[in-house]
């Protein structure tokens, strides 16, 4: 059986997260937690590959607090066969390196015969896009980032990935096992069927703590992290804006024209452009 491991993170619905300007702490009260959208796209790709090939098992892995079970439940609804939650105080406060080390070790010890690892391009809270490539390096795998479509070749030895490159689209091909990070592409978030939801609630979420594995405790969580967040603060407030209302279109155009002129944006305009 081929095994596709999908690393998934639970994140706060970020648009609601703010910093208390006096204490400098994150205001997370009442903020909903969701499965990171990019992880959801990754899971969708795994589920799609599985649909075409019955010989595939999809395993979702999440490191997080006990309530991260919700994110894994959603993975089961979307088509994961197994869900593993790594939860332990010792994992708390991990930076990207400590996170990648923990996830890589768990995969190495629990699913050593994996075929493919999928991760989201980035988590919408930490926003670093580093965990995927760091896992790939620790496990010595080839990596392809910014994937929008993933297919295993018929001989099952390589993965072909359509990806978003800076100036267009590329197709890259890598020897398996490999790690691919997934961005939005054409994937739409979908609602699972009622049957899938019922099935998912019958499945068990496997809980793993630090003691269940052989891990170097010096490399876990805050203690294992190389970076330290020393301060969080609200983004600088924006300059005063001049907002004009109730203008006729011609007046509005005149205002913009004058603004462009005063700020010298009409001097280098491309003469002879169409």
């Amino acid at each position: 059986m081929k095994k596709i491991v999908v690393c998934v993170k639970q994140v706060p619905e970020v648009t609601d997260v703010q910093v208390d300007p006096t204490t400098g702490t994150l205001l997370r009260e009442g903020v909903q937690s969701i499965l990171n959208p990019f992880c959801e796209y990754a899971l969708d790709h795994a589920a799609r590959i599985k649909q075409a090939d019955a010989d595939i098992e999809v395993i979702a892995i999440c490191m997080g607090p006990p309530q991260a079970e919700d994110a894994l439940r959603r993975c089961l609804e979307l088509g994961a066969d197994r869900a593993i939650l790594l939860t332990d105080r010792k994992f708390a406060g991990a930076d990207t390196w400590a996170t990648a080390y923990t996830l890589a070790e768990v995969i190495r010890q629990l699913i050593p015969d994996f075929t493919l690892i999928l991760a989201g391009k980035q988590a919408i809270d930490g926003d670093t896009a580093q965990v995927g490539p760091e896992i790939a390096e620790i496990l010595g795998l080839p990596q392809i980032t910014y994937g929008t479509n993933v297919n295993l070749t018929a001989d099952g030895r390589r993965v072909q990935v359509k990806r978003e490159a800076e100036h267009g689209i590329e197709v890259l091909d890598a020897a398996l096992p490999a790690l691919v990070t997934i961005t939005k592409g054409e994937t739409q978030r979908r609602a699972p069927s009622l049957d899938a939801v019922i099935d998912a609630h019958r499945k068990n979420i496997e809980i793993i703590t630090a003691g269940d594995l052989s891990l170097d405790e010096e490399k876990l969580g805050l203690k294992g992290s190389y970076t330290q967040v020393v301060k969080v603060f609200p983004p600088p407030t924006k300059k005063d804006s001049r907002v004009l209302k109730d203008l006729e279109p011609a007046e509005a155009a005149r205002e913009i024209f004058s603004f462009l002129k005063e700020n010298h944006f009409l001097e280098n305009n491309r003469s002879g452009a169409k």
């Binding site: 648009t15 390196w97 689209i169 020393v230 603060f233 983004p235 001049r242 002129k261 491309r270």
Partner: protein, 343 residues
Amino acid sequence: RKQIDAEELRKYKGVFVWAELENGKPRKVVLELLGKGRELADQLGQELSAVIIAAETNFDPADLGNYGADRVILCQHKFLDTYSTEGYTQALSAVIASEMPSVVLYGATPHGRDLAPRVAARLRLGLTADCTRLSIDDDGQLVQTRPAFGGNIMASIITPHTRPQTATVRPNVFPALEPDPSRLAEVVEFPLTMSRAAIRTRLVQSENLDADDQVGIADARIIVSGGRGMGKAANLEMLKTLADQLGGTTAGSRIIVEQGWIPHTHQVGQSGTTVGPQLYIAAGISGAVQHLVGMSASKTVIAINKDPEAPILNVADLGIVGDALEIIPILNQMIEDDRNKNS
């Protein structure tokens, strides 16, 4: 965690910039990083080096001295002709391990964000993503400040236990130095042995989606950007006309990329490209955080939106509450008339 004591930490000296090339020449963000790197190196009293990884270059590496570099480390090999994660990781890791710098900076470009975490994990280093501010504190440590949570918060991060301290840095945030043609960098070659087999990915196909007559949005000086409020793809033509008249590039929100009105290479925002033009014109864009985080480095912003409550108006130097579809054609005519009058 690997941890080195204070005395050991002090052995790491110098500020390094990964000089990413495009078509054999350094990208704009490299010049920006050299400007910032110069300032950091001066504060530390150390050297600034640019590291070039390539098969060939189309310019004189010594010219990076014009932008502040003291030294250029040239790491050339025929297998480094196109970017590959594994080839470039091997090259840069070898340079860093042998030269022992105190700071390494990368542009937070697609390649920079692919390469930096790979090198960090190989050498067991901390890495801060997408920095928008860098400074040296009283202990000589690099303080790295970055937006997180989709731009809703800022965080300052240090890397106390390991060297080098490594960071990716957003393009268009720091200014490049005014080039000084009399200043040349010393060029040193860094020999490398590599095997083709070490690169396990292959490029099967690639397609360029950028319009021929426009520069990529990451480097554009003027951007005219549209959102769902433009109504339909055909209406983007008026933005193209405006961009052409101003010598700029067109772009848009994720919604219009999903609609297929523009290619993803022109998407501004958290899951698109971070831009920092002199002028950003937003037409029919609401200004969701994920969009704002991608354009907040713009020097000047003009926004046109029907809805007086649209958040984009709060970040605009000039905000117009009105119908873009009516206003822009008139504006285009005014600019054209003005040009005809002056020519």
